[in-house]
């Protein structure tokens, strides 16, 4: 022990001599730093560009100001773009949740008809979760063409993996007592699911559904940029023709829309989950 004795007037809690622990931490930070430098070099990522190229950012900001807010009344098609984006996220969430709930019944140990089926469906969920939404969208654009329909389908398929895993896990954790009670009066599989399983997992389905809607709304904007229609597509068009004042107006519109929808879904979630007892 070669520790330095703390000075008498300093409480020892606030004075720790450099220890093995400290040296280990220093080594970790040094390793992270070395990795960052090496990776940046490999990427040709030059952090100082942020300062040397800062005037480009300033110039862009100058070109974006003032935002062309009058688009709100000179371009009525904006409202249908907002509606498209919200509708995409909504249908994607509801569609994905419905399909996932049906599949989750096959993927949960206590409701599946066959263990092998459970493995297959769970693997499918995992594969879907690993596939970025944007890959699904690219395939759909070729299949059904550009527009919100492709975006909606991509979000539907893209929600299945996440929902399916959550729902299957929720079903596996249900309290077996009601199930046994219903089985004991001779109910079949469907009645058990309808009266013992579904009521128990519904709160988690609802709560996760609202969360997924918030995620999907942002994803709907991103997918729109690639041709999924809606606000994202408008934004990308304005970028392409360098109308930066329109771009800023659209960005502000995105901010307002996302914030408002988050408030709405928060409010609804509290309304619904606050009274699940009477379900």
């Amino acid at each position: 022990m070669n520790s330095v004795a703390p000075a008498a007037d300093v409480p020892s809690a606030l004075f720790t001599p450099p220890s093995r622990h400290f040296r280990r931490r220093l080594a970790i930070f040094a390793a992270i730093g070395a990795f960052l430098v090496a990776a940046s070099a490999a990427l040709k990522f030059q952090p100082w560009l942020l300062f040397t190229d800062f005037h480009y950012l300033v110039r862009l900001a100058g070109e974006m100001l003032p935002p062309r807010i009058e688009l709100l009344w000179t371009k009525p098609s904006l409202y249908s773009s907002v509606a498209e984006t919200i509708a995409m996220a909504l249908l994607g969430t509801l569609g994905g949740a419905s399909i996932a709930l049906a599949l989750a019944l096959l993927a949960a140990a206590n409701t599946t008809p066959h263990p092998l089926l459970r493995t297959v469906v769970r693997f499918g969920f995992g594969a879907e979760r690993a596939t970025p939404n944007f890959v699904v969208l690219l395939v759909l654009l070729i299949a059904v063409g550009f527009g919100p329909f492709a975006g909606m389908l991509a979000l539907t398929i893209g929600s299945i993996g996440m929902f399916g895993k959550l729902f299957a896990d929720a079903i596996e954790q249900v309290d077996p007592a009601p199930i046994e009670a219903i089985e004991s009066v001779g109910a079949g599989r469907w009645h058990v699911i309808r009266y013992a399983v579904v009521p128990q997992v519904l709160p988690s389905v609802v709560a996760n559904g609202f969360y997924a809607f918030d995620v999907n709304l942002r994803a709907a904007i991103a997918l729109g940029v690639y041709g999924g229609g809606g606000l994202g597509f408008e934004l990308q068009l304005a970028m392409k023709v360098l109308r930066y004042q329109d771009v800023l107006a659209l960005v502000l519109l995105v901010l307002v829309m996302v914030t408002l929808m988050e408030r709405v879904s928060d409010f609804l979630r509290r309304r619904i989950l606050g009274s699940t007892a009477s379900l």
Partner: protein
Amino acid sequence: MRRPALVALALGLVVYWAAAQCNVSPSELVDGAVRGLEVLVFFFSPDWHALPELAGPALVTVLLAAVATPLGVALSAVFGLAAARNVAPGWLRTPARMLIGLERALPEIIILLLLVAALGVGPFPGVIALALGSIGMLGKLLADSVEEIDARVLESVETVGATRWQVIRHAVIPEVLPSFLANAIFRFEVNIRASVLLGAVGAGGIGFELSKAMSLLEYERAMSAVLLTLALVFGAERVSDFLRRRVLDGGRLR
């Protein structure tokens, strides 16, 4: 949920409205499913010769996420602490909270589009967009977990005469570090996915190769890129599982 019939009706109306917006109809859905499956058939034979060419772009995608994550974590730590009611002064907290909220409402792709418009395409805007994109999620989670710290813990350190920095260093950080690190490791997974997506807009990497192959209708090459993407995402999950096990031990630091 007292009136299931009313809820079902409202839900039905909302779905009907949304379906009209997206031109969804049963016949369209059936058509779309059929055509989707038809297109999928084209992908069935991945072009194995393309894999070596795609290895470089795949590495770019990984490095983008790997560089952006620590940068984002550092930024989030600053913003998260500045936004917490019990450690930051009032004049700092409001703007920090506002900026975090602003970033949460702004999808990464918009940040990237703006950066690409200003600085051109390449890894630089990609890294910055991903790093900034981490602030909304990690900063908010950190600020919330700092605010949940028991006030008595902070007071006990303050009574000894600790300055604000010493309180943060000795009472706040030990308390929130495990959950913050867990979130940071999870953010790495998110960043890998986002890195693929942003690549297609102009950050380069496997996402760019994929969208290029798609637009040229080179399905076999696109399939190879998709398989590589899946490998990256699975790999990232393995890496972050490993890191979680190394760093955290049942909610505590190792």
